[in-house]
Amino acid sequence: MAQKTIAGISLDVNPEGYLENPAQWTKEIALEIAGEIGIELTDKHFEVLEFLRKEHAAGTQLSIRKVGKSGIVDIKGLYTLFPGGPLKYSAKIAGIPKPVSCV
């Protein structure tokens, strides 16, 4: 398994850089992954990240439609927060696996 040091911690990551173990995630790790992508995280971003982590832990198959119905942000807002990858970037920053979803 690949290892990567993010925010001073050595983490297990997949070849695309997604955390293998969501439990290793911290806010500092989120900030660093977001920085690599070119996104500066705000409180709104963290609300979305917490939602994704909670849903992932509950075993939900994630989609942008589900985030759009979360009451945190609509789909347009999600695209504004995570340009070019509303689901793949948000999941990466949230420290969960890349969602296997076309919606």
Partner: protein, 168 residues
Amino acid sequence: MSTETKERSLKKVCIICAKGTIEDVYATLVLANGAVMEGIDAKLFFTFFGLDAITKKQMNKIHTGTVGNPAMRMPGGLPFPSILGILPGVEAGVSAMMKSQMDKLDIPPVGEFLEMITAGGGEVYACKLAMDMFKLEAKDLWEGCSGVLTVGDFYSMCGGENTQIIFT
């Protein structure tokens, strides 16, 4: 000279939808949504019967054809006799079943799907010639439609590096 070619990522897809069945319309919508979710520009052009997908009256009533489709099977996988497909109500029943399956997979109704695509920056256009043919006016179209175009207008949007035109 090196013969090595470097793969460059896709930047834009221009998708043409000319048919109004569930499978044709959804193929278009899934391809377009999948593109914007990956940061790829998407331009959609609806023409002929595909116009149903962006016509207010029809967009949420689209059906799948139950005749002349050899891949159509009964639940459980048995063949679906073509003669059944012509019975009143069968097409509607099969279509309702497909829509309920899609709903379980979080695939939204047509109107909501189009909104998701435009929320991600995708653009939706109607074909001028087909509009004239079906006697449709701009007011008949879904509100999020960006305009009515000639083929030439649409092609003028399909330029640029790493752009693909897809005909569903």
